[in-house]
């Protein structure tokens, strides 16, 4: 079993930019800078790295290994899917060190949402029509009917949650407001101006019922984390952050989720995380009441509400009430969520910024530190199968 076998010992990022702000800098250059920062944080040399673990399309390991000067690459693996694989890249890294396939695994991701080589995930379907990728879903059943962006797909799921449970726009807004409050305390966050419910309700409608403040950012930057065995971690520079559990997957009929919409109704009103949550808690030997802080993939506010339900912090349908009245605030909330400002307000780099914030909480170095945080839940994007999640602890 993977429980407690591996630890996160170093984290690093580039500076964060609004869309296109990284200019001409390549993905590779940004990945290298984040990797250097993570190695310095860990007290390791880049040449100690002997494994790479990626997600969402990965990267060319030949280019990366030769650039970094890795003496011997022993492991290279990529998760399938999208941002749902972010924590899964840590799972694969932990499995590699637990089984001796590698000693020091780098999880790294660069995202450029604009500029040369950049790609706007929010407009992934809004291109001149062409035949589908033969290895994925058939876009002739989506694009001719105007389903072109993740936000539109999540809007239909949010509408169903509202219809089924009475969830309100103000409850979506409560997620946006508490997340922005956390971002306002984080100097690295890109959007730091606090917002009110009026600001939220008056923000531009994009795909009804979702407003612009329900959407994550489109930004540029890179993230890197170093994973090694728990045993080795105890001799390194930082307090080890142990991977108490890590799982990936989801129900098969979650399928392509937001580009498919054939999920059985019981899943359609969820985040798709329920099966992952069950296995995650079982592996870690903890339950929802043991979680001190949660960093939940927040590409769209309603999906935070659905994840709170799926991870058992409240019953299905009660997530809206859970987030009201500052329910997610780091200091006064029912559960501190997205203490860095999340994808909504800090930066959107497809998931590893949540892992890095989870590491900070366990180290005790967050800008919105939860006192005595010992157990942290980190989740990946609920969009298409597979998704993934971690429980980190001290």
């Amino acid at each position: 079993m993977l429980k407690d076998k591996a630890a996160i010992v170093g984290v690093g990022t580039t500076e964060f930019h609004r869309r296109g702000g990284s200019g001409e800098e390549s993905h590779l250059s940004m990945m290298v800078r984040a990797t250097k920062a993570a190695c310095e944080d860990a007290g390791l040399s880049i040449t100690d790295i002997d494994g790479f673990s990626y997600y969402q399309a990965g990267f060319d390991s030949g280019v990366l290994a030769s650039t970094l000067g890795i003496p011997e690459l022993r492991y290279s693996v990529t998760m399938t899917g999208g941002g749902g694989g972010s924590q899964g890249s840590l799972v694969n890294a932990a499995m590699a060190v637990a089984t001796g396939q590698a000693d020091v695994v780098l999880c790294v991701k660069a995202l450029k949402s604009g500029g040369p080589g950049g790609r706007r995930i929010g407009q992934m379907g809004a291109v001149a029509r062409q035949p589908s990728d033969p290895t994925s879903y058939d876009n002739s059943f989506t694009a001719p009917f105007g389903l072109m962006s993740p936000g539109q797909g999540f809007a239909m799921m949010a509408r169903h949650h509202m219809h089924k449970y009475g969830t309100t726009p103000e409850q979506f807004g409560a997620v946006a407001i508490s997340t922005r409050n956390h971002a306002s305390r984080n100097p690295a966050a890109l959007y730091r101006q606090p917002i009110t419910m009026d600001d939220y309700l008056n923000s531009r409608m994009i795909a009804d019922p979702l407003r612009v403040l329900d959407f994550c950012l489109e930004t540029d930057g890179a993230t890197a984390l170093i994973v090694t065995s728990t045993e080795r971690a105890r001799d390194l520079r930082q307090k080890p952050v142990i991977i108490g559990a890590g799982v990936m997957g989801g129900a098969g009929r979650w399928g392509n989720g937001i580009f498919w919409h054939q999920m059985p109704e019981e899943y359609y009103s969820s985040s798709g995380h329920r099966p992952v949550a069950k296995r995650l808690y079982a592996m870690a030997g903890v339950g929802p009441s043991d979680i001190d802080v949660a960093e939940m993939y927040d590409h769209f506010t309603p999906q935070v509400i659905a994840q709170l339900e799926d991870y058992g912090f409240c019953e299905p349908g009660e997530g809206g009430a859970f987030v009201e009245d500052g329910g997610l605030n780091f200091d006064t909330g029912r559960l501190p969520v997205n203490t860095h400002g999340g994808n909504l307000s800090e930066v959107y780099l497809l998931g590893l910024t949540h892992t890095i914030e989870g590491v900070r909480q366990i180290r005790g170095t967050s800008t919105s530190q939860v006192p005595d945080a010992e157990v942290c839940l980190v989740t990946s994007g609920p969009g298409i199968l597979p998704t993934s999640a971690l429980i980190l602890h001290s």
């Binding site: 033969p134 001719p144 009917f145 105007g146 072109m148 409608m205 009804d208």
Partner: protein
């Protein structure tokens, strides 16, 4: 004027979907149905997800549906959509093909007219490459 710009209303049939689109061109809406366990599936694929049989038939449905969920798109994610917003994207369910949802549009409904469970009737639109597209109107 078509519901969406011509550049989006293009269908590229595949070996798996050709029969679906051919039926549409005959103004028939038909879904794959497992001949072993009678489970419907969509989009078209090679295996029944309920019983793993690879035997199937194309079963025509009446086209009477209900609205499961929808979004009203107000932000044009592509410049050519600027004159088409607001438009809706609708998920339509069928009593005679349980388990299937069709991603489509309700072409005659104003945003405030859309309600969960509202009855819909099949309506054929011609896409930009001549392909008939299954869309819906208020029943």
């Amino acid at each position: 004027m078509s519901y969406l710009p011509d550049e989006f209303e293009v269908v590229f049939p595949t070996a798996a979907s050709q029969a679906f689109w051919d039926a549409c061109n005959d103004q028939r809406l038909a879904f794959q149905q497992c001949t072993a366990c009678r489970t419907f599936r969509h989009p078209p694929g090679p295996l029944c997800h309920a019983c793993q049989s690879d035997d199937y038939a194309w079963t025509e449905v009446s086209g009477d549906g209900t609205l499961f969920s929808w979004t009203v798109v107000t932000h044009p994610v592509h410049p050519s959509l600027a004159e088409r917003v607001p438009f809706n994207v609708a998920l339509v369910e069928f009593a005679d093909a349980p388990g299937v949802r069709l991603i489509s549009n309700v072409v005659d409904a104003a945003p405030e007219e859309l309600t969960a469970g509202m009855p819909l009737r099949l309506h054929w639109d011609k896409g930009s490459n001549g392909q008939l597209l299954p869309r819906f109107v208020k029943a």
